[in-house]
């Protein structure tokens, strides 16, 4: 397969721009359970589930394993201290071109918001490439319904127990998942009358 940067017709200067500076910034801080009620709650109720935590530019991020994601979501929503009752956004990141060899390929990102304390929290669940499935959080935040469909459509991650897991943005007969990093940009064939797909 042709590298998608070349397909795009980018100049050599643009290609050098892709060189990753694999330097961890100095202002990445680890969260501590003493200061952060969210981290403490998850550690207490779901021991062994938290993988990592970071504070960067004033934004908290907690990485968790995918197995207990529904329980963790419910805990964060219902606990008096946190009350993350609003799902701002649910998306995924394909770490194919970025991750360390020890990391898994996908991250599901839950951007949570509390309408009582006006605080934000980013919860991330790790999903491996070989078995790209995770439980749905539709029962916790109904808003996740379409957002999870979009992640399924564009990243090919299956949400277990989802009520209506269909493609949402792309046509139903589309092949591939466009937002994956190995999906070429501008690679799809333009349909004319001679090559239109028969369905």
């Amino acid at each position: 397969m042709v590298d998608f940067d070349i397909r795009l017709g980018l100049s050599p200067a643009d290609l050098t721009a892709r060189v990753v500076a694999n330097k961890r910034p100095d202002d990445w801080l680890d969260l501590s359970a003493d200061d952060d009620p969210e981290l403490r709650l998850i550690l207490e109720s779901f021991p062994g589930q938290v993988v990592n935590s970071r504070l960067f530019r004033g934004e908290k991020t907690i990485w968790v394993k995918r197995e207990k994601i529904v329980g963790i979501a419910q805990l964060l929503r219902d606990n008096k201290e946190t009350q993350f009752n609003f799902l701002t956004d649910l998306t995924a990141v394909d770490l194919l071109k970025m991750h360390a060899p020890s990391q898994e390929r996908f991250e599901i990102v839950y951007n949570l918001y509390s309408l009582s304390s006006y605080k934000r929290l980013r919860l991330k669940a790790i999903v491996p490439d070989g078995d790209a499935t995770i439980d749905t959080v539709e029962t916790i935040w109904p808003a996740a319904n379409w957002l999870e469909r979009e992640v399924y459509d564009l990243f090919g991650i299956i949400f277990n127990n989802h009520s209506d897991l269909r493609r949402i943005q792309m046509p139903d007969d589309w092949i591939g998942h466009p937002l994956r990093k190995d999906y070429p940009m501008g690679g799809e064939q333009v349909e004319f009358s001679f090559n239109v797909r028969k369905s």
Binding site: A17, V20, A21, D89, T91, L115
Partner: protein, 421 residues
């Protein structure tokens, strides 16, 4: 902080004045006996769906039993496009997704990138951003009002709101030479200062606009037909609206006083006084009242903000982000290098991620940007408020007439460019 609009006071008074038959509740609709369900496509090329939205309606007579929205007709892969452009080039894409709140999208994206870069903008840039954002909100609300009224059959208002919106577009054109997709707010500040006389013209618009708003009010707010068409339909409770992730005026219509400008102030909104209007019934009429009042509050903010605009540059002096002035290139080697690096590569934010959001005309518009340390964003997620507002639509239209469905789509003020991206 919040003022209740229709709560116990305003709306019942209005209804007392005009004596409207208020039989418009879900329960009072006639139930037909035979179970003949007809499935009808509404859209994707239907003028009242505000774009290419397709609703599959299961009808029992004229009553909607079930509505299933189908989206994606405008999906152009904007996120993928942004992930293949440098940070500065990706800015122009943000104009094109929610095409009625261009400058607000610019700001949300710029705030996210600035957070990654850890850069401060100048006081003048901050203030001008706020002014532009409020003007954009008014323009966006004017389109909503015009098209919403047009859908319901009040045609006159459409021409009036277009007239006022044109003045805002004129202001944008005077500033940038472009009427809609200006990309004027960029990471680091603004692309350029406003020309001489711009602030005066903006103030003149702000002075004149409340009178126009009264005009709309006289045409619609106490109009018996308008009230009859809007009140009592499309109800959603505050709890449901939160659960479905609704935001903006659609959420505030249900009585939840949440506005990003108040709760998580950005670009200096905490320096100004304004109220968050909230409804109480969560119906279409409440959402209408909330948006009308929001335009008044925007004028209130603009009146304060235009008073003493700080002077100074509008772009940060950080040479890693903003290009040096042309004259410096002839004398300074360092400036030449910065200039060359900026225009061949762009800036390299550190590895990390940031989320920033603004209150757009439709709700919380957010950008989630992941950086891998290169000059191209690794992942950009556009958090569109319209998507989640539309998601709650089937809940709102169930058991109502098709004509009500049209009113409800208008009331949640969706932009399909924001939904499909």
């Amino acid at each position: 902080m919040a003022t209740t609009l229709s709560g116990g006071s305003v709306k019942p008074d209005i209804l007392k004045d005009v004596v409207v038959p208020r039989g418009v509740t879900v329960e009072s609709y006639e139930q037909s006996d035979d179970n003949e369900i007809m499935v009808v496509n509404m859209g994707p090329q239907h003028p009242s769906t505000h774009g290419v939205l397709r609703l599959v309606l299961e009808l029992d007579g004229e009553t909607i039993r079930k509505a299933t929205p189908h989206i994606g007709y405008l999906h152009t892969g904007l996120e993928k496009t942004m992930e293949n452009l440098s940070y500065y080039k990706a800015l122009v894409v943000t104009d094109r997704e929610d095409y009625l709140s261009n400058l607000i999208n610019n700001l949300a994206y710029s705030l996210a990138v600035e957070k990654l870069l850890d850069v401060e903008v100048t006081p003048r840039a901050r203030r001008l951003r706020l002014i532009l954002n409020e003007l954009e909100r008014i323009a966006s609300h004017l389109i909503w009002l015009g098209t919403h009224a047009l859908d319901i059959g009040a045609m006159t208002i459409f021409f009036y709101t277009w007239r006022e919106r044109d003045q805002i577009l004129d202001l944008k054109e005077m500033m940038s030479g472009v009427r809609m997709m200006t990309s004027w707010i960029c990471p680091g500040g603004l692309r350029g200062d406003v020309p001489e006389g711009w602030l005066y013209r903006a103030q003149k618009f702000v002075d004149n606009f409340p009178r126009k708003l009264d005009e709309y009010n006289r045409l619609l707010t106490k109009n018996p037909i308008w009230i009859e068409r809007l009140s009592g339909i499309g109800k959603i409770t505050g709890e449901d609206a939160i659960a479905w992730g609704m935001s903006g005026s659609s959420l505030r219509g249900s009585g939840v006083a949440w506005d990003v400008r108040k709760s998580n102030p950005y670009t200096g909104y905490d320096e100004f006084e304004f109220d968050i209007p909230v409804g109480s019934n969560g119906d279409v009429y409440d959402r209408y009242l909330v948006r009308i009042e929001e335009m008044r509050q925007s004028i209130r903010i603009l009146n304060q903000a235009l008073k003493d605009v700080p002077s100074g540059p509008v772009m940060t002096s950080d040479r890693k982000i903003a290009p040096p002035p042309r004259a410096e290139l002839d004398t300074s080697m360092e400036s030449l290098i910065h200039h060359f690096k900026l225009f061949t590569e762009g800036y390299h934010p550190p590895v990390g991620e940031a989320y920033a959001s603004c209150e757009s005309g439709r709700g919380e518009k957010g950008y989630y940007v992941v950086s891998d340390g290169s000059a191209i964003p690794y992942r950009v997620k556009i958090n569109g408020p319209s998507l989640k507002n539309l998601q709650a639509l089937p809940k709102m239209v169930e058991g109502l007439y098709i004509a009500d469905c049209v009113a409800i789509i208008g009331s949640i003020d969706i932009v399909l460019g924001d939904i499909d991206r």
